[in-house]
Amino acid sequence: MEFDTIAAISTPMGEGAIAIVRLSGPQAISIANQIFRSPGEKSLHEQLSHTIHYGHLIEPNTGDVVEEVMLSLMKGPKTFTREDVVEINCHGGIVTVNRVLQLVLINGARLAEPGEFTKRAFLNGRIDLSQAEAVMDLIRAKTDKAMNVALGQMEGKLSRLIASLRQALLETLAQVEVNIDYPEYDDVEEMTLPMIIEKSTWVKQEIEGLLKTSSQGKILREGLSTVIVGRPNVGKSSLLNSLVQENKAIVTDVAGTTRDIIEEYVNVRGVPLKLVDTAGIRETEDIVERIGVERSRQVLKQADLILLVLNQADELTLEDERLFEAIDGMDYIVVLNKTDLEKKIDSQRVEELAGNRKIVTTSLVKEEGVNQLEEAIASLFFEGSLDSGDITYVSNARHIALLHQAKRTIEDAIDAAHAAVPIDMIQIDVTRTWEILGEITGDTVEESLLDQLFSQFCLGK
C-alpha cells in the first residue's frame, strides 16, 4: 500500500486557532473535490497548482455542511512529497479537526502512519540520503507500536465482534466459491441472492451498531453528549460556565434545532464533551414537572453522560430524589456543590442513591473541585487508559474510517443483490468488506478462504 492516498492532521493536537489536515497521493485532489463546495461550485481538478480556495466541506451523501475551510491545492511534483497534496485549513480544536479527518478518511484516504509523509518525500527523491536512516527508524518504531496496539486490540470486545463478522462473511464467501469452483456438487446449497442479502444486511447492521454505540467513536465524531441537571439554584450554570471557561469552547453557540437548547463543545482531558444545557429546565420553573415533559426526557435519554448537581448546603429534597429516579440506569456523576457553605445534606443517603457512581464535591464559586470532576469524566469513559492518548485516538480514527468504508462496500453488495447482479460480482464487494474489516484487526491471511472452503465442504473428484 505504498501508492494510495494518505491523510493526517498536520498541526499539533491542541487548541490552536486553526488546524491543517493534509492529504497526499494520487487521489488527493479527487477526494478533496468530493467533499468540497466552493461558492462558485468550481471543480478542484480544474484549478491551478499552488492556489488557495475558500469554501465548505460537505458530507457528500447528505450535502450537510461540516465545516468552513480554506483549501490549499498543490499538484505534484513541486510539493513536499512530490505527490499531489491538498491541505485543508479548518478551525482549530479536537472535535472539528477530527471531523474533517474522518471525512477525508471515509471518502477514500488512508490514515498516514507516523513519518509517512517524510517517507514518501524520500521515496520520491525529495529529501537526501542522510534522512533515510531516520525514516527507517521511524518505520521500525511504528511497527513496534503497531504491534502493541494490535495486541491490545486483539483482546478487546471490538476485535471479537469484528472477527465474528469476518467469519460470517468468510462462510458466505466460501459457499459462493464452492458454487463456482464445484458447480456440480449437489450437496452444497446454492448461495442465493436472498441469502446473501440476509447475511450482508446482518453484517451491515452490526457495523452500524458498532459505529453508533462505540462510545469512543461517537466521542470523536460528535463529542460526548453531556447534560447537566439539578434543581434551581444548585449551580448548574456555574458548572457549565466553569467547564467552558476552563477548557475554552471549541465551537461555541452551535444552536440546536430548538431555540432553547444550547450546546457547547469543550475538550475535557481529551474527551470532547457536547454540553447540553436545557434552557427550558431553568431556575424559574418546577424542574420535576419539566422533566415530565417529553422533550426533556428525550434530551436525557440521548445523553451519554449526566452531571447531577446537588446543593450540599441544603437538605436533600423530594425533587432531588425524583431526579435520581429519572436518570436511573444511566451514566452519571453526582456533583455536590457549594462546599464553601455549611453542609446540610445527608451524605449517606446521597451515596445510597448514587450506588457505585462517582460523587465529586465542588465549590464553583471558589473554583474548587472542577479538576476532580474533569478527571472523573475522563476516567469514566476511558477507564484510566487514556494516558496513551494519541495512539488510542489514532487507531480509533482509523477504525471508524474503516468501519465506514466497510459499511459502504457491504451496502454496495446489498444494493447489487437487490438489483439481481450476478453473485460473483456481488462477491467482489463482500470480499472487499471482509478485507477492510481485517485491516481493523490486522488479519489478512490470504489462504483463509481456501482453508474455510476445504474445511467447510467435502470437495473433490
Binding site: F3, L129, I139, D187, L459, K461
Partner: protein, 629 residues
Amino acid sequence: MQKFEAGSFDVIVIGAGHAGAEAALAAAGMGAKTLVLTINLDMIAFMPCNPSIGGPAKGIVVREIDALGGAMGKVIDKTHIQMRMLNTGKGPAVRALRAQADKVLYQAEMKRLMEEQDNLSIHQAMVEELVIEDNEIKGVITQVGAIYRAKTVIVTTGTFLRGEIIIGDLKYSSGPNNQQPSLKLADNLRELGFDLVRFKTGTPPRVNSKTIDYSKTEIQPGDEVPRAFSYETTEFITDQMPCWLTYTNERTHSIIDENLHLSPMYSGMIKGTGPRYCPSIEDKVVRFNDKPRHQIFLEPEGRNTREVYVQGLSTSLPEHVQRKLLESIPGLEKAEMMRAGYAIEYDAMVPTQLWPTLETKKIHNLYTAGQINGTSGYEEAAGQGLMAGMNAAARALNKEEIILSRSDAYIGVLIDDLVTKGTNEPYRLLTSRAEYRLLLRHDNADLRLTEIGFKAGLISAERFELFEVKKKLIEDEIVRLRKTIIKPNEETQNVVHSKGGTALKDGIKGQDLLKRPEMSYEDIEKLSPSPFELTDEMKEQIEIQVKYEGYIEKSLQQVEKLKKMEDKKIPDLIDYDAISGIATEAKQKMKQVRPLSIAQASRISGVNPADISILLVYIEQGRIAKISG
C-alpha cells in the same frame, strides 16, 4: 556405458506429457530447433487420471493457452466426447467450459501435431543426467549414453521422478499407469542442490461399461449448443456421449470404516502430502462422516473403449476392498473392475526455486514445468509448459522473456503463486486464487493474450488480423451504444415491459439501457440495430463490457495500483542481510524467493508492509548512493 554425441539443439524438452507437449510445440513454433525426449512415445499427452479437460479456472487456462498459440484447446476440440459450459447461471467471470476427452484420440492427435511441427524432433529415451558447466545447462545424457547438447533444457517429468504406486499394502517403484519411473534424474537433481518434496496424488478404479446398470444412475448429457475451446475451431463435434451420476451410501461408508486399517493413508505407509481439493474416498468419509452420500460420476474414457472412469472414488485401499466398494454403489453392483485405483507418490521441485520465467535460479538456462513444480491438473501443466517453452526458446534465440502478470491471465496467477508463495500440497487453480477474476474471463482470453502470442510468433498473421478486426468492431459498437439515444416510444416500452423493467420516462443512452439488469444486448439490438456486422462472440463481449463496466472499472483501478508496485524493481544483487530493520522471517523468505519487484515481495507470506517500506527506502537509498557516488 559408451557415451556418444547425438546432436545439438536450441531447446530440449524432457518429457512429453501435457507440459512437455506444449513446451516443445511452443519452442519449435517460435523457430527454435527443439528436441523432445520421452520414456515412452505411446504416452505422449497421456491422461493418467480423469478423462476431462477444463472446468472452472482450468477451462479458462485452456482458452488462454489457445490465445497464446498453444495446442491444448485445438486438440480437445477435435477429440472430445462431450462439452458443457459450467456456471451459466452465474456471472460472466466464472463461466467455464469443460470437455470429456477421448483419451486415446487426444493422445494420438497431440502426437500427430508434434510430428507435423517444423523444427521439432521426437525421440524415445530416458534422460538420466543433466550436463552442467559453471551452473549453466549444456545438455542431457540418456540411459544409452547419448549426449544431446542444448542452449536450454526444460524438465517436464510430471509424477515420474522416483514415482511409487501404492495399493493397500502393495508399494512399488513406478511412473503413472505402470510406466517406467525416472530414478536417476531425480537423484541428479538432488545432487545439483535442488530442494525436492514428496507429494501424493491418486486415481479411482476403472470399470467396464457393459457391466454397468445405467438404469440406476442419472444421465448427464453435454450441451446441445456447439462449443469449442479454441478461437480457431470452426468444426464442431455434434455426436456426444453422456456421463452418468450415482452415489455412495451408508454401506459404502461402513465398508471404508471397517477397512480403514488397510488404507496406506492411515497406516502411515504414504508420507507424501496429498491435495485437499482432491481427497480420496476414504478421506471424504473420515473427514465428513456426517455426510450420508457422495457423488460418483461415471465418465467414459473414449469412443472406442468400454473403460469408464469412476470419478469420486479415488482410493488406495487394497483391491479386494475396492471391489466391495464398487458392489455397494447403485449401478455398479456387477461392475467389472478393469484397473484398480491407486495412490502415487513422487518427487516435486520446491517451486520457489524458480524465476517467474520458470527458469531455475540455481542452474542457468534450465527450466521446469508442470507437475514437477508441485501442481496437479493437465491444464496447469500445459499452461506452465507453454510459458517455459516460450521462455526457453526466447532465451536460445536472444528474444525478450515473457512473463504474464496476475492481471493478465490465470496462467500468471498460477506461476506467480508457485514461484512466490510455493505450495505445501499439489497446487490446483481455483477461481478464488485470482484477485481480478472479473478481468480473467473465459470470453476475453483472446483480447487479453492474442497480441502476446502474436509477438512471440505463435499466432499467425491471418489469425491476428481477424482478431484485430474483432477487437475494433467491439470497441466501435460500445462507442455507438454510448452515443445512441433510444427513444421512449411504444416499441421501446414494449420491449422494456416484456422484460419486466420499469417504463422509460425519457430517452436513454443505449449503454444505460443495457446496464439495466433485465436487459440483454439482443433487446438493445432490436431497438437500435448495429451498423456493424457482429458475431455472437462479439455481442457477448459488448454485453459483458457494458453491463459490468462499473465492476470492471473497479478491478482495473486495483490493477493500476499493482502495476506501480510491479514497476518498482528490486536489484538482483540486493543483500537482504545488510538491511537492518527487516524482520528475520521476512529476510529469509526474500532471500529464498528473490522477488523481482516490490509487488512480488509483498505477496510473499511472512513479509509484512513494514518490511516492504524499509525495503523501498533501502533500494532508494542505494539508488541515490549510486548516482552521487
